[in-house]
Amino acid sequence: MQPTSHAFKANARQALDDGVLRRALDNMRGGFPAKRLAAVNRLPEFEALRDAGKTIKDHVLENLDFYLEAFERNVVARGGVVHWCRTAQEARDTILGICRTVDAKTVTKGKSMVAEEIALNDYLEANGVEPIETDLGEYIIQLRHEPPSHIIAPAIHLLKEHVETAFRAAHTQLDPNRPLSEPRQLTDEARAILRAKFQSADVGITGANFLIAETGSTVIVTNEGNGDLTQTLPKIHIVLASLEKIVPTLEDASTILRLLARSATGQEFSTYTTFSAGPRRPGDLDGPGEFHVVLLDNGRTAMLGTEFQDMLRCIRCSACMNHCPVYGAVGGHAYGWVYPGPMGSVLTPGLLGVAEAGHLLNASTFCGKCESVCPMKIPLPKMMRHWREREFEAKLSPSAFRSGLKLWAFFAKRPALYRAATGLATRLLGGLGRGAGRFRSLPLAGGWTSVRDLPAPEGRSFQSLWAAQRATRRPHATTLSPVSRAAQ
């Protein structure tokens, strides 16, 4: 998809004016955080698990080459193939090439954010291969020709009425008078339609939540079982994964799995956790004839060894965006690319550059909620700040803002001058605001007063008042200390 992250402000304004989106986001904000909290509270060792998960991922990132090569050896030993792709284009071409070997007409797809990242569907369609999304949320947004707005709940911005409209428009072969207002009716219909697609697909493409080095297996978690049908029924199974998904052992995957669903949906485990290891063996009752892993870099190794390396611990649980007040206000589409919310605000500049993603790294209050719920303890605000440093160094922030900041810093670095200037400004503003106690508008403060009043200063700066009374003032008597009270 064409990024519109540079237009974040306009996107956000549009989102804020969208009353229906507001209802959908309110549903989300009322749901995920409470469920996560309940799940965390039921597991006393959750904090210890976070540390364990972080340790595993940090170790992997320090030894990425070792584990990736071990993974490849073990995939090959099981009869699979690993394709190393530096760029999105290489990954797209590789996947199309595999599809062409069986002259594929249709491809079923499990949910994959990496597929969104490389805009796989558009590419396959343009080359005569029809991709069919099988995750219900992804299926809905595919019908609506729009990108996901959330990394685990792609259609979270929609209400069930939207889904009904999309289904009636797409499934014209069905009775137009059928009832379709209940969630159950909608899922039954999607299920019936998709069943035929599963059976006729030539290739199945899934993502991966984990790649396990010691076994050469890949893991997906789903709640619908669509991933299992996607990867078991067709002739070929392609796993598309970014290279930081690697973990050393099955045991490590289990540790992180205990964090993943709890952080994401508040489930202890997702309904389906599916391990894939190579193509169908002689004697197996089912499974694909070929097993391919497309390993994507696409800018990630460039983050290794930098202040952004910690971001590669991310397991895509979505806890950060579920708890983010900015995401909760504007939704995922406003961010303008594949990865929204705090994790997107750190990852997107790494993948698309700061010039495109400048707003994302700035549109945060640094409230810190994201970091506090991140199962991998990724210091998201700190890394957004590091991106702001890159932006500032490259002089990419707006020039008016930069000169205002420089002017402020000029005074802030000169205390005597600062005292004189603020003393004066305080008197002036205090005098002007005395009557009402607040300003409804003020020159040069439109960013503030456009949406809220500015409380007026009291009238004198603390420093000037303190200087005036310091010589004569008498300290308050000691009345609060536990020692003095005990003596009373």
Binding site: L16, K369, R388, A409, A412, K413, V451, H476, T478
Partner: protein, 265 residues
């Protein structure tokens, strides 16, 4: 070990200095009542967050050096703000990782720096104050204090000791109010949504007074409450820094954003 009369350097904070010096005097009063000797170094301006959070590391380091120098020699450094305290405690040392000598001085400052209310309760062992406030108050937990410094129970504990005061919890008290320093002027529409939600939560409590420990958040919330004309019991919701109430200084001081003529309790 806390000395008998600890010498405390007050970090006033730039917003308190300009907008609400009374919070600074409330801090001085509380610290002195708790047995401290309070001084206010002249060579302080701001903690540097505006430049730090805008990616201007050079100016931030220059400002941090100034603060480190100004507050050397005190037993403690105390600020009536979780946000500025967080900056001095959690962020200054990381600015000087390439300068061992300054790094050590920054760490020394960080270890001695506390937010006002948690300093009173956690370091000085204050369990109650001598103040009266007739009203129902609700409390917003500012983000930095809450998540960087673990300040949650401390202000509530002291507020419960204020005569006449009834504390009612704010739903979503831990959700950001939308201030975020320069965020609120760079993204006013998003900030507006956040502070509008906050104002609605405050109104829903029915409390006549909103308290918090950070003036930035208070200016934002007070500005929204007055713009929306939110009332409690037929009067505008009163907004104050928690230190004003704990120091018993609310009698003569109009609430934040209120006209000087309207007599406030």
């Amino acid at each position: 070990m806390t000395p008998a009369s600890p010498r405390v350097g007050l970090f006033v904070t730039c917003l308190v200095d300009m907008f609400r010096p009374s919070i600074g005097f409330a801090a001085v009063k509380l610290l002195e009542q708790a047995g401290c000797v309070v001084e206010v170094p002249e060579a302080q301006t701001c903690c540097g967050q505006p430049s730090y959070n805008s990616g201007d590391r050079g100016d931030t380091r220059a400002i941090a050096r100034q603060v480190i120098a100004a507050f050397e020699g005190f037993d403690y450094v105390v600020a009536p703000s979780g946000s500025c305290t967080g900056m001095l405690r959690e962020h200054y040392p990381a600015l000087f990782e390439d300068e061992p000598e300054t790094f050590a001085r920054a760490q020394h400052l960080a270890r001695r720096t506390y937010e006002l209310i948690s300093f009173l309760t956690d370091i000085l062992g204050v369990t109650s104050v001598e103040a009266r406030y007739d009203g129902t108050v609700t409390y917003h937990d500012s983000c930095s204090g809450l998540r960087e410094l673990d300040i949650k129970e401390q202000p509530r504990r002291l507020l419960r000791s204020v005569d006449g005061l009834k504390l009612t919890e704010l739903p979503g008290a831990e959700i950001c109010c939308g201030f975020g320093g320069t965020f609120c002027i760079k993204y006013p529409e998003i900030s507006d949504r956040m502070v509008t939600d906050k104002a609605a939560d405050i109104a829903a409590t029915g409390a006549d007074t909103l308290l918090a420990g950070d003036l930035g958040c208070l200016l934002n919330m007070a500005g929204k409450l007055s713009r929306e004309g939110v009332l409690a019991g037929g009067r505008p919701v009163r907004v104050r820094h928690v230190a004003e109430v704990l120091a018993g200084m609310s009698g003569d001081l109009p609430p934040i954003g209120a006209a000087a003529t309207s007599r406030a309790s």
